[in-house]
């Protein structure tokens, strides 16, 4: 179903399926786990404890584990997983995604156990997850925006601009109407307007889509900063003081230990994000709209020959994408009750673009990639809070380095929609 599905059985059955034995992955797993065992387990002094906390309804659960022993056990589990994957490779069996996932979780915990060992502050697990989700929100919206338009064949480099425009309009409208919700409704309009420019130039005037996208980012930064310096500066109370969206805990669900408060004590924007991810995941791959959108992005001429209006489909999807990004832009202002500030999206649109590619143009992939980035970013924050001897600038690099490792090590070659970036002119 997903675009990167395994090859169909037709041919595999025909030939003799004898996958080449590749030990690259197992060796990498093993090497990293061994280094981790040395660094986190064997070398550090013994006798220290690592404390963790997590929220449960009404209380804070705190527990401690012996650092050295725990780290050693975790690293050994990772080594075991490496051995498992080695065995799987030897017998030519495919391992599921669970293996790298569990492996990564285990090693991250080993790292945390080591990093927090002996610290006065416990490691707040709930808070770690909460912040990861928080930082991932705009990335998820941005990545989904890119996905919707790129799946239909229009490259959307303008995500950053769409986020920024959404943030701007949401703040201004929310302030004027004194309603965060009205601001939230305005945000997608701003994003869609940016998309409208994108489609006018990319489809009507057949300008290279990347050029348009790059330039639109500059344009939106220019316009919003200009208006901020001129109009908003003088009237910040009347134009740029948005209300905050209220937090709406979902009864029962929000009381689940650890993940309840993380997932279900959120604003409507985050719930919308869940909805959008799930709905898109279903619709992109299972609905008429999704099928047509993907057809137009993969092989527009084929779509045309079955009566699908290629450019119309592209226009609507790109506008929809812009609207989704615009909605994500509301995160920066009304969702958190913050006033608009110059360039306040701080390059998140580009990270979202990376998340979309890393997630292979699928909604759940985009979600996973955004969460990975959010987690890496927040891990850096949380470790900073607990106290680390590493300079802040180096800590701040973490999420970017993690992303490079993810794209180089785990993902490798990804396949973009085939007709992406190519104007459809009959």
């Amino acid at each position: 179903m997903s675009a990167v599905a395994a090859p169909a059985p037709a041919r595999a059955a025909a030939g003799k399926p004898l996958p080449p034995v590749s030990y690259k992955a197992p060796i990498a797993y093993g090497a990293v786990a061994a280094v981790a065992l040395l660094l986190f387990g064997i070398l550090p002094a013994s006798g220290r404890e690592t404390a963790f906390t997590m929220f449960a309804p009404g209380e804070n659960i705190q527990f401690s584990v012996p650092s050295k022993l725990t780290a050693i056990v975790l690293c050994l589990i990772a080594l075991g997983l490496a051995a498992w994957s080695f065995q799987a490779a030897r017998t030519r069996r495919k391992v599921g995604v669970w293996l790298p996932a569990v492996y990564a979780v285990v090693l991250v915990f080993a790292l945390l156990t080591w990093a927090v060992a002996g610290k006065a502050q416990p490691l707040p697990l709930t808070s770690l997850l909460q912040g990861s989700l928080f930082l991932a929100v705009p990335l998820v919206f941005g990545a989904l925006a890119g996905l919707v338009s790129e799946r239909s064949g229009i490259i959307n480099i303008a995500i950053e601009g769409q986020l920024l425009a959404g943030a701007f309009l949401a703040a201004v409208v929310a302030t004027i109407t004194s309603s965060a919700y009205v601001g939230l409704i305005a945000a997608p309009i701003a994003g869609a307007l940016v998309s409208a420019l994108l489609v006018v130039f990319a489809i009507k005037y057949v300008v290279d889509q990347i050029i348009v996208g790059v330039v639109l980012n500059v344009l939106v930064v220019g316009i919003t900063s200009y208006l901020f310096s001129t109009v908003l500066r003088e009237n910040s109370a009347t134009l740029n003081a948005p209300e905050r969206l209220p937090t709406l805990p979902i009864p029962l669900l929000s009381d689940i230990p650890v993940i309840g408060p993380v997932l279900f004590r959120q604003t409507i924007l985050v719930y919308l994000m869940y909805v959008v991810v799930i709905v898109l995941q279903v619709l992109v791959f299972k609905s008429r709209w999704g099928l047509r959108m993907r057809a137009v992005g993969e092989h527009p001429k084929a779509a045309d020959t079955v009566g699908i209006k290629v450019n119309r489909t592209r226009v609507w999807n790109t506008l929809l994408g812009g609207a989704i990004a615009g909605l994500g832009g509301a995160f920066f202002t009304v969702a958190n009750g913050l006033a608009f500030g110059k360039e306040m999206t701080g390059g998140k649109g580009f990270i979202a673009l990376a998340a979309m590619i890393l997630g292979r143009w699928s909604p759940k992939g985009a979600l996973a990639a955004a969460l990975l980035f959010g987690f890496a970013d927040n891990l850096q924050v949380v470790l900073g809070i607990i106290g680390t001897p590493i300079p802040s600038q180096i800590m701040l690099m973490t999420p970017y380095i993690v992303t490079i490792f993810a794209v180089a090590g785990l993902v490798g070659r990804v396949r973009a929609p085939a007709a992406e970036g190519v104007a459809y002119v009959k």
Partner: protein, 342 residues
């Protein structure tokens, strides 16, 4: 609306006060940074209004803009050019040397020669602030007010003008602990190692919000963000959390951020505006001196803001202790140090 009388048009604008022109170059934060650029700009605005002089303000978007901005102000025949921020040190110094008939002022940095030894120029005045002294008091108050025994501070980017606040804050908390046998923790800054929490920029407020939430989750109930607009993110997080208060920086946040006035414990004020105003006033009166101005608790160039809504929360012991410490600092009995001090 109705049209103004025709004759009004010509008379509008330029008050025929003085033809003194005072100009200002921001650093890359711009004049709405809720921080020193903004304070500086406000000082200049006040001078323009009250002294009837002409003002020109130009923003820089990056370090590369300083020299051209200063140059265009020189071309505009500015009499006094003020650079906001230590990053303008070299450009202001070069301009001062090249334009002996123009007066300059530089906020947050003194001038140095090629061996990095201090020098004085005839036509350039450094405006310096012993910010750590005020931050020290704020740290003391924060520690004395915290009910959880944990307070926090963080910065935008690790720069001396940022970490000087954090140094003073940490020392103030330590002083409180020492005086009261308490064990209030400071998260976010290790003065010894000079490492701590930073959001990475001065733009993305949500990063400040997230970081502050992290502090709050670790039990912090007083936070001092030294990150310009990103600090507002922290204020939003504090407001959301409930019983968490914020120590503002640069200006009195109770006044400048009315949305968050109810959670502002106090602010570490750096009276850049006043210093700018005074400098303009002197210069326009023809009594410019290149003598460095150093804002201290003594001359009230720095200080902590009133407690406003927290006046009843801050105990009398703390208030007395703060007055006492202030007196000691003014008298020189107590020296608050920061390696970021100019």
């Amino acid at each position: 609306g109705s049209a103004p009388e025709e004759s009004d048009d010509t008379a509008g604008g330029g008050e025929a006060g003085s033809d003194f022109k005072a100009c200002m170059v921001s650093d890359s934060g711009g004049f709405e940074d809720k921080s020193f650029n903004q304070s500086g700009a406000e000082g200049l605005d006040r001078a323009a209004e009250e002294l009837g002089i002409e003002e020109v303000k130009v923003e820089s978007t990056a370090e590369t803009d300083f020299t051209p901005n200063i140059d265009s102000l020189v071309q505009q025949d500015c009499n006094l050019i003020i650079g906001v921020g230590f990053l303008l040190e070299d450009p202001i110094q070069a301009a001062a040397e090249a334009n002996p008939d123009v007066e300059f002022a530089l906020i947050d940095s003194a001038f140095t020669d090629e061996n990095f030894e201090p020098v004085t120029l005839d036509n350039a005045k450094p405006l310096l602030f012993n910010t750590q002294e005020a931050a020290y008091l704020a740290g003391y108050v924060a520690a004395g007010t915290s009910t959880t025994g944990t307070v926090a501070t963080f910065g935008g980017i690790q720069l001396p003008s940022v970490s000087i606040f954090m140094d003073g804050f940490v020392d103030g908390v330590a002083k409180y602990n020492e005086d009261n046998g308490a064990d209030v923790q400071v998260l976010g800054w290790d003065k010894e190692a000079q490492t701590g929490s930073f959001t990475g920029d001065f733009e993305n407020q949500t990063n400040g919000q997230n970081l502050a939430t992290g502090f709050i989750d670790q039990g912090a109930d007083v936070i001092m963000p030294v990150a310009g607009p990103v600090g507002l993110g922290a204020a939003a997080a504090a407001q959301e959390a409930g019983d968490v208060s914020i120590v503002g920086v640069d200006a009195d946040w109770f006044e400048t951020s009315p949305d968050y006035s109810s959670i502002i414990l106090t602010s570490v004020m750096k009276e850049i505006g006043q210093a700018v105003y005074d400098t303009v006033k002197e210069a326009s009166a023809g009594s410019f001196s290149s003598e460095p101005y150093v804002g201290t608790l003594e001359n009230e160039g720095i200080g902590i803001a009133p407690f406003h809504d927290f006046d009843s929360v801050v105990t009398d012991e703390v208030k007395t202790a703060v007055e006492d410490l202030k007196a000691q600092i003014v008298s020189g009995d107590l020296v608050v140090e920061s390696i970021s001090q100019n």
